[in-house]
Structures are given as structure tokens and as C-alpha cells.
Symmetry: D2
Subunit: 188 residues, 4 copies
């Protein structure tokens, strides 16, 4: 019996053209292979993949325009590795949390989702606050430590520590725990 | 001194392929000329135009796909008259109210908006409930009676009566009151 | 097999000291016996009773103070008939809808509630907009027509018509349909 | 010219009867004198004081019952130092963030508040997530480092670091910055 699960990919579609973007890009590149593998594992297990991404000041819900635009930035190599397929869920968020001012919670309830796998950048901002909003809404969380990146590694570790302690989340690496095990509730 | 104002156009981008759609289409066609004139008047007065539209079960925030798709329905003539320009705000809503599960309120606050003009279909569903959510958030409302349509005219009138009484809204026809007057607070 | 159900009692704890309050009081008095009977039937069937009530400008979440205060108004006879027991849920709402700025949805999810019975005043304001917010969140609704009152009976009827059509709600009188039948899904 | 400001006191009314409560109590006692002084300074400057506090599983909005109840716990000495006056704002929150399922944002907008001073426990949970929800809603923040306590000091420091970096907050100690200076926008 499987727990209904979705994978959130947060803010990977990102120009990284801001102060500290170089650092974040460097740290993100290191996790991209594990994120790609996780996305593939999700697809293999029929776990829906939901991109939840900053709107970068666009308010027209035109996803292609946004992707085209942010690809002009230094983040392009990351985007090319993780580019969303046209039929994948893509939700624009105007602020830090994926739940604030978006249809994310409504979509998750419609899909019957009860637990979330969260991978994203930056771990100490958008992942952290999306994770708390998910926790307050009753979702069980797996935020694998090896698919989260921040501008500074120390801040990334601190955020994961808060996510583990305050949100009762599983932060085991995807190298030590599989989606199959998560679906089977092996971490409860 | 001008009150910061926006125009909401609700659910005009609509296939109308549902029970009662023929009726709604008929009643909508009658108001389209006034809606077009109102939209033009908004643009002439630098009042932002914000489409707030059902997502019709699409969760990818791809507005063009949605427009292309709903144009296959009987509502096409309405869409062609009121088609959004690429640079106009377009917000997808998953449910009746334009404020539920959307970035509408965040956008309005960012724009400094204090009062709204609302035109839409159906008047007794999405317009009514969007108007109340706007009222609860403190926006002053003008819901002109001649730019609202519903499946049944009696229901449209009833909804407008509720909007006027319960939401302290101005429902004067655009034939008797102008955006310029609304900007100048002439209805307060 | 029972559907998880709660009964909402909206704004009965009310001074009625406002324009139109006399009218609303008169119409409310007529439904009080049916509301009392419905509340008793809820208790007999272990259906939680949740008062959802205007805060009347008090922001301290002191329910007793509020009750004491509003009892000074002309609405006192209604309050005395429907006074909440100390151990009944009592949620203050600052605006029309019981879901806006309140913990109502969180409480309902914690209780596992899937469908709601709504009784309240005014039918064309707080009941109507609470019902839509409930519908958008996926709750199945029974808004019995004989336990709703408004300032004007015509407006009350119009609101019920919208609730029935737009929110797919059951509005059958409690004289013709019982909580037991609702629990058993007999209206689906 | 004064910026409209409020002081939030988060979760000080707390039994502390949980795992780690002894630690949190110890760290909270150390900040109580500074919190009391800050509260007094707020009152002297007509800055509204708003208690935002866990509901501890009570859903009846009876604040006195809650206070009486939590006073039975080990947190009593803290409560006695910071006990809310009957006429102070007191908002119950059901989850980590003071903005989730509460009327806090509605109250703040009604009061015209634009910036917040936040003091509370635990710094790495409820203060952190309340601060982000405030930031996303556009409030400028001062979270003085000497009036925040957590179970572990390292976690408290980490949370403050995130609050400073990710939420663009002022975290200067109240020993080095005054409410008067904050009102005058001296940190902008």
C-alpha cells in the first residue's frame, strides 16, 4: 500500500543573475546529477513531478516566456539539465514559499498527495519556507540533504537541521533511501 | 488626486462547453461591446487590466496553451473580442474566487491598488465570490451592472443586488459612470 | 459507513444593534426552534458543533467577553436559546467568511471532516460566503433552507438558490431530511 | 514622521511541558528582562503589543482558559513576568506561523502597520516562520537578537542568521537600537 507522494523541484529554473548567484550556481551544479536521478526515479514510480518556481516579476503565468528569459542568465547549464517537459506541472510562486499565493495546495489535495519529497534552491530560503508551509498543512516530508543547495554550505546545513528538528522531516540522502522506500512508509 | 485602481476581467476566456453554456454565451455576447469599451477606457486612463481566469484543469501556468484550447469551444467569438495582449496581466485561478490559490492579492498590493472595477462571467458565481474576497481584503468595488452576465438574467440581478448590499459596492452602469469619475472618488 | 460531518452555526451570537437588525431579529426568531432541534440532532449523532462568529471588532479571542457584550443588544433572546456550552468549539471570524483569517479549515481537517451542515445568519452574507469558501475547499454541503435567515426573505431565497446551483449544495429542509440520512450519504 | 509599527510577542504563554522544555525554559528566563523592557518601551511609544500564541489544542478561543491551563506547567515563571493585560491583543495560532489560520494579517492591516518588532520563542521555529510570513506580506522586520530564545543557542543563532540574510531583517540588540529609532526609520 503506497503513500500518495509528489516531488517538488524548487527554483531550479533560475537566471542566478544576482549577488551571490555565482556561489549558488557552483553549489547547485554539484547536486544536479542527484536531482536528475531523483526526478527519473520519481517518474519511474509514477510520482508526479511539480516544478514550483519563482515568477521573477512576471505576472502573466506564461511559463515559456519565463524559461526563455531566465536562460539568458548564468544559470543556463542548470536549467538545461532540469528543463521541465511541457506536460509536467509548473507552478509560479511570487514569494519565498511555494504555498503563498499559488495553487500548489489545491493541486496537491486534488491529487490526493499526503507526503512530499522536496529538492530545491536555495535550501536556506525557498526550500526551508516551502517545507514549513507543507508541514503546517499536514504533509509528511522527505528533504534529502544531497539535493538541496544554498549560497553557503553552512547555511544549507543549518536549514536542513531546522527542517529535520522543527518539521519532523526525513533528510536522509537519496544515496541511502529510495523513493520506493518512502512510498512504502519505511521512514515512519 | 487619483485612487489606485485596477480592472479585473473574469473568465471571459472560456470554452463555454458545459451545461448551460449556450445560455451563458448568449448573455455574454450582449455585454461584450460594453466590456470592450470599458477595457479601452481603462487603458486610456493607465488603469491596469488583469485577466483572472479559470485554469480549466490545466496546472502548468501555460496561458497560451489554455487560450488555444478553450478557443475550440463555442465561446470562441467572445474570446476573439476580448483576447488578452501578451503584455497584459493574466492570472489563472483554480476555483470560483480569483483570490483563492492565486497571486492576485500579492500583485494588487505590489501595484498599490485600493479599488477594483470587476467585469466578468458568471455574475452569480465567479464575479460574486471574487467580489466578496476583494471586499474582505479592503478593496472598494465598482461592479458595473452592464458588464456582468450569468446563465439566467434573474440570477445575475440577484447576485448584483447582493454585491451592492452586502459588499457596499457601486453597481452603476458604465453608461452612467466613468472610470475617470471612479478614479476621482466621485462615488464615495 | 458514515461521512465525517460537522455543523457550523454562523453569527447567531449577535447584538443585532445595526441598521436592519430589527428585521433580521424577527426573521431569526422564526428559525430558532429548528436551529435548536438541528443542534440537538447533531449532538445525538456525535456530529461536532462549531460556532463560527463575528468578532465584532474584538481582537483578543476572549469569547466570554464577546458573548457578555453582545447580549446587551436586542439579539439577546436568540443568544439565550443558542448559547454555546463552554466545551463547544467557538471560532471568531473577523470578516464575512468563516474561513478568512480563522483556524476553521485547520480544525476541520484535523477532525477529518468531509461535509458540512451550515445554519446561520445572514443567509445572503456570511452563510453564502462561508458556504462558497467551504465548497472551494472540497466540502460537500447541506444548507437547510429552514435554518437560514436574512434581513429580507427574498434575499435569503436568492442566496439559497445560488448556494444550490453554484455550490452544488443540498438545501432540503430539516423537516424533510435528517442528519442521519446526511451521514449515510443519502443525498449523493 | 513615524512608521506604523507593532510588537509581536510569540509563544511566551507556554507550559513548556514537552521534551526539551527545560532547556527552552532556561534560555527563555535569560531574555525575559529584556522582553519586559521592550514591551514597556512599546507601550511608552504607543506601539501596539500583540500576543501571538499557540492554542495548545484548544479550539474555543477562550484565552483565559488557555492561560490558566498553561500556568500549570513549568513555564509559569515566564508567564507571570509577561502576562497579557486584558485589553492587549491576544491572537491564538494553531501552527508554527502566526499568520497561518489566524486574523493577524487582517488586524495589522486594519491598524495600518507597516513594520514589526518580533520577540518570541522558539527562535528557530515559531519566530523564524512567523518572520518569513511577515516578510512575504511586505512588513519590514526588526527581530532583536537578545529577545529571542530557542532550545539550543546554536539553533537560535542559525535562525537569526537566516532571518537577517533571507528576510532582510534588522537583528540588532535592543541594547544598541531603540523603538524610537525604529519608528524613525533609522535602520533603513
Amino acid at each position: 500500500m503506497s503513500n500518495k507522494t509528489a516531488l517538488l523541484l524548487i527554483d531550479f529554473i533560475n537566471s542566478m543573475d544576482f549577488d551571490g548567484g555565482e556561489n549558488l550556481l557552483q553549489n547547485t551544479k554539484e547536486i544536479v546529477p542527484d536531482v536528475k536521478a531523483l526526478k527519473q526515479e520519481a517518474k519511474d514510480n509514477d510520482v508526479p513531478v511539480i516544478y514550483v518556481n519563482d515568477n521573477f516579476g512576471l505576472w502573466q503565468d506564461h511559463v515559456e516566456d519565463l524559461i526563455k528569459d531566465v536562460k539568458k542568465g548564468i544559470g543556463r547549464p542548470v536549467i538545461e539539465e532540469l528543463e521541465p517537459a511541457r506536460d509536467e506541472y509548473f507552478i509560479l510562486k511570487p514569494k519565498h514559499s511555494g504555498f503563498y499565493g499559488t495553487q500548489l495546495d489545491i493541486l496537491l489535495r486534488q491529487l490526493g498527495i499526503e507526503q512530499l519529497i522536496i529538492s530545491g534552491i536555495a535550501g536556506d530560503i525557498c526550500t526551508l519556507f516551502t517545507a514549513n508551509d507543507a508541514y503546517m498543512r499536514g504533509y509528511h516530508l522527505w528533504v534529502p540533504e544531497n539535493v538541496s543547495a544554498s549560497e553557503y554550505k553552512e547555511d544549507n546545513d543549518n536549514a536542513l537541521r531546522i527542517i529535520k528538528r522543527s518539521l519532523q522531516a526525513n533528510i536522509t540522502s537519496t544515496k541511502d533511501f529510495t523513493i520506493r522506500e518512502f512510498l512504502d512508509g519505511k521512514d515512519k
